[in-house]
Symmetry: C2
């Protein structure tokens, strides 16, 4: 059988990937979860009809949401990942020896289970002793935390379904409270080709709360338009003023020390969204 | 009717775009030419089943193949575009007041005609008096030229069909001969996710001829993987050592002075292809 998964990324455009077989397909308490074995991308996690990660390109997203804030912070010890049940961000966080504890708060335990079973190269570090996994509401976890974390990454789905609260000013204010006085946070903030208004809104909202707010990009071929943005909010540390001695060697496939700077150089039409 | 254009970018992955109507579809002497009116991207030129350009995202490719070499050269006066019958590169070249003459050599006159008719925002400058349009074989034109051009851009299709000669060492040697002693050339060199071997080969071949050979990237959402590469070969001028005073204001939607530097900071797995 010639089976293809087609994702409409807008009403009028999408991607299509050849599927060997469906490994899992279920309606969880929070969303539709599908795990597909594809020919081009290896195993692929799809939530509510949107590709979340694949075995072939996961490194881009997970490296770029992690290493940019973690190298910007001079000494990150306690890190929180909101969402990210596939474990990819955790895997990257643990490459930083300063990190003593990484907490993952994922609302949907089924995502964690499915990833452990079908995405072992991504989820493999979730059982690391430096990691604490909580199946809980990230918004509520943030609301209960105070001056606790050095770095917080929000690895959410799009602002539909369970993630809708994670794109609000109230959530960013909660994150600021949950961070220590020199804390840094990053959230994935979608793509500039189809979601320009969202990027603009997120940037404005974060800028009201964090004195240093910057947008950066990475190429993720299975995400809409291939150009993804991350919004970074920082209380003190500027990602563009990291001392050379702060960087140390880690194994990556996308992130480099040069890209740490270069990823903040935005295409003109994207830069305009931050003004 | 619910009509979709689906392009298999690999055997197992592709894009799909909703089509309002087919504006033109014909077999020229060189290739299959289709012009589609799409909902997401406006009018779209497709050659041999591959998207060449669209009204919505054409600025990325055309700005990035042009302004990087043109600002690297201190005073480009005579410029050659090989291929590029849609006229997008020419439009960008003319933004540089130093350019006295821009020659376009496109093998397929039908591409020029179709673009003038259906892509006026892209092809509009082809009738500018500073432009000379030749319907001719780019490979042969290069072979006949000697120390004539300051900058040459190769805006070709993939290395199949009419463009196959444009990805050979002999062609790069011809380009070096056609350039003046401080000339610069750029060729589009496909994407690193599906065509890593091609990028590696082009880089090796160009490096044998041009002492300064560098790869840079841009995000093109309608091209495979969204991450496109350009290979730049230069006899003297280094694109990373352009004086601040060289840059002047031009109207762009993608290229910026900061990106001129940043686009050479490659993702690790791409950087590895140049070693």
């Amino acid at each position: 059988m010639d089976l293809w998964y087609t994702e409409k990324q807008t009403d009028d455009f999408g991607i299509t990937a050849k599927v060997k077989r469906t490994l899992q397909s279920e309606k969880t308490d929070f969303q539709q979860l599908d795990m597909l074995e594809t020919k081009e991308w290896g195993n692929m996690l799809v939530l509510d009809g949107m590709v979340m990660t694949t075995e072939k390109d996961d490194f881009v997203y997970h490296e770029m949401i992690s290493h940019v804030p973690l190298f910007t912070h001079p000494n990150p010890k306690k890190v929180l990942v909101v969402g990210g049940g596939d474990g990819g961000v955790i895997r990257e966080v643990l490459k930083h020896p300063s990190v003593e504890k990484a907490v993952l708060v994922e609302i949907d335990g089924k995502v964690i289970e499915a990833s452990k079973q079908h995405l072992p190269s991504i989820a493999g570090e979730l059982t690391n002793p430096r990691v604490e996994v909580k199946v809980d509401d990230g918004f509520m976890h943030i609301a209960k935390s105070e001056a606790e974390y050095d770095v917080i990454m929000v690895d959410s789905t799009e602002p539909v379904g369970p993630a809708v609260n994670l794109f609000t000013k109230g959530f960013y204010a909660g994150i600021a409270k949950a961070l220590k006085e020199d804390g840094i946070f990053v959230a994935q903030s979608d793509n500039p080709w189809f979601k320009a208004d969202l990027i603009k809104q997120v940037h404005q909202d974060v800028l009201e709360i964090f004195p240093i707010t910057k947008l950066y990009t990475a190429n993720i071929p299975t995400y809409p338009s291939g150009l993804w943005t991350f919004t970074l909010g920082s209380k003190q540390h500027d990602p563009l003023k990291v001392g050379q001695d702060r960087f140390h060697q880690i194994e990556t496939s996308y992130y480099t020390q040069a890209l740490h700077q270069a990823c903040f150089a935005l295409p003109k039409f994207v830069e305009d969204l931050t003004k």
